[in-house]
């Protein structure tokens, strides 16, 4: 088996770099949004449990 070439990846255009940066920014925003969604879902659990305890003991 022959080994990989030392410089992989090939030339990259400015447009490709811009696309990369935009996509990473969107992905990071989405992942941060998941943290907020996680907290919201935990709050939902807390509300249901509080309802259960308050009304039915």
């Amino acid at each position: 088996m022959s080994g990989p070439e030392p410089a992989a990846g090939g030339p990259v255009t400015a447009e490709q770099v811009q696309v990369f940066e935009d996509e990473v920014r969107d992905a990071v925003r989405y992942e941060r949004g998941l943290a907020i969604k996680c907290v919201a879902c935990l709050l939902l659990v807390a509300v249901v449990l509080a309802f259960r305890v308050y009304f039915f003991g």
């Binding site: 992989a8 090939g10 996680c38 249901v48 259960r52």
Partner: protein
């Protein structure tokens, strides 16, 4: 005698509480999803387009292979840095003609490799292609996929950018179920994939270890493929999981890129699902045995041996055992200490309620696009009867009122015996739901199967159906049943967003 009875009761209560462990671990896993933003790999990425060989094993895939190749040629990726190798495993349908037509249509981009003696399974087919691809130095990265999988245009470049980090050995993508309109089964699978892929792989990434590269979307650096011996495992039914483990054992990272989306056609019937998942579950049992020296033994260069990962792995693998143990313990307790059984059951079902609300709501929020399509299946994922029990646990007063009203309407008086009978039923149901879901598979191929099959799955639950399949895998492995590569039929019914 009293001490002995106390010991027995304590043991039974411990087994019931142990039944809550997989639920607690599932909650832990989903909590980690919320922390995924802190473990993103993008800081070490850049726009990066290695010369990529796409390896597709194909056996009688004429219905889907042409579309897959056409869609691959629409990838937003430099055309001169892309080659598609279709390894035709001695197909007897029109696969060779379909592929050869694409070879002519996309000169220099599509290669047809024909095995004249086939039937040795997917891993052997992949190894045929790997040997060919590694025989020269062109390939810098290799994408191993399934013939039915459709890649969104941005997916490959979203994956290759992680290989700019030399510490990364492999990258996988988010596979979504693509059958439209599909049926109840594909919608169950669609929802399941949010939990098993979008959520589980994010949480595994937070832990620093990935359990399995999706078989239909595994990108490797050349260095990684060479480091694992230039071929995939042929001894188990889970060659993708073995590759994932070997990569990480070698100290190379595996990355899940949730924003690289690919679409796959998944089984549309219980029998087809059973065939596919039995193969996966048997593969997982084989992997568990093969890497027995790894579990719960932390290593400096990888996280496979971490306690957290071990818990995730074994709670899923042993879920049917936990369910049966908890159920049987509750039934025995019911007869020797009714009140203790009721208390232990409450602890277990309180955990169940929390898990159901948290995981269902969060999973639907993780991928709202799939969630809009599958929310009904998400709600009844545990089965209709389990959902009724969950509702009764949340709303005991209204549930009791409804029960009395129903009994009155049926002209049956609610007696002490009836109440105890219902309680005993719920204890038994904890494991019996697996059997009822299994009946769906039995019924599907018989008279009225199109009606009875889904009915049993709705009543027993899709989750319990998966547990039944895992149980069948234990039995097959214990019996050393022959490990046959049972291919999932693909029909090309996918509709993929453009």
């Amino acid at each position: 005698m009293t001490d002995f009875l106390l010991a027995i009761k304590s043991l039974l209560v411990a087994f019931v509480i142990l039944g809550a462990l997989p639920l607690l671990v599932a909650n832990y896993q989903f909590l980690l999803v919320g922390l995924h933003f802190r473990r993103l790999h993008y800081a070490k990425c850049r726009a990066y387009f290695p010369r990529t060989a796409i390896l597709i094993p194909a056996w009688n895939e004429a219905a889907v292979i042409g579309t897959s190749i056409d869609r691959l040629m629409l990838l937003d990726y430099p055309r001169e840095r892309l080659r598609i190798y279709v390894v035709d495993d001695a197909s007897t349908d029109d696969t060779p003609q379909v592929v050869l037509a694409r070879v002519a249509q996309y000169p220099g981009n599509v290669v047809h490799l024909r095995r004249h003696k086939g039937g040795e399974g997917k891993a052997a087919t992949l190894n045929h292609g790997l040997a060919e691809i590694l025989s020269d130095g062109w390939m810098q990265a290799i994408l191993i996929m399934d013939s039915d999988v459709i890649y969104e245009p941005s997916s490959l470049r979203r994956m290759t950018r992680h290989l700019a980090d030399p510490e990364v050995g492999s990258v996988t993508a988010y596979i979504k179920e693509g059958s439209r309109p599909g049926n109840y089964m594909t919608r169950f699978i669609g929802y399941e994939y949010i939990t098993a892929q979008a959520a589980a792989r994010r949480s595994q990434e937070v832990l620093g270890v990935i359990a399995c590269l999706a078989g239909g979307a595994q990108l490797h650096s050349r260095a990684n493929i060479e480091a694992i011996g230039g071929q995939v495992d042929t001894a188990t039914l889970a060659e993708d999981t073995v590759t994932t483990f070997e990569t990480q054992k070698g100290g190379r990272k595996v990355i899940f890129e949730p924003h690289a989306t690919v679409w796959a056609e998944e089984p549309g019937s219980i029998v087809a699902l059973w065939k596919q998942r039995l193969r996966w579950a048997r593969g997982n049992v084989q992997v568990t045995r093969r890497f027995r020296s790894v579990w719960f033994r932390p290593q400096p260069n990888n996280r496979l041996g971490s306690i957290s990962f071990g818990l995730l792995w074994f709670c899923l693998l042993l879920l049917p055992v936990f369910m049966v143990l908890a159920s049987a313990s509750l039934v025995i307790l019911f007869f020797i200490d009714y009140q203790l059984a009721w208390t232990a059951f409450h602890v277990l079902w309180l955990t169940n309620v929390i898990t159901y609300i948290f995981i269902t709501s969060f999973a639907l929020a993780i991928d709202p696009g799939v969630g809009r399509h599958t929310w009904k299946e998400a709600l009844i994922f545990p089965g209709v009867i389990n959902v009724i029990i969950l509702l009764a646990a949340i709303l005991p007063g209204p549930a009791a009122w409804v029960g009395h009203e129903l009994a009155d309407a049926a002209g049956v008086g609610v007696t002490y015996g009836w109440v105890r009978g219902i309680e005993l039923f719920t204890y038994i149901w904890l494991s019996a739901c697996m059997g009822v879901a299994f009946l769906g598979k039995v019924a599907e191929s018989r008279k009225l199967g199109r009606f009875l099959g889904p009915l049993f799955v709705y009543i027993g639950g899709y989750g319990p159906l998966l547990c039944a399949i895992t149980t069948a895998a234990y039995i097959k492995e214990l019996r050393h049943a022959e490990a046959i590569w049972d291919k999932t039929e693909k029909t090309g019914k996918m509709v993929v967003p453009t």
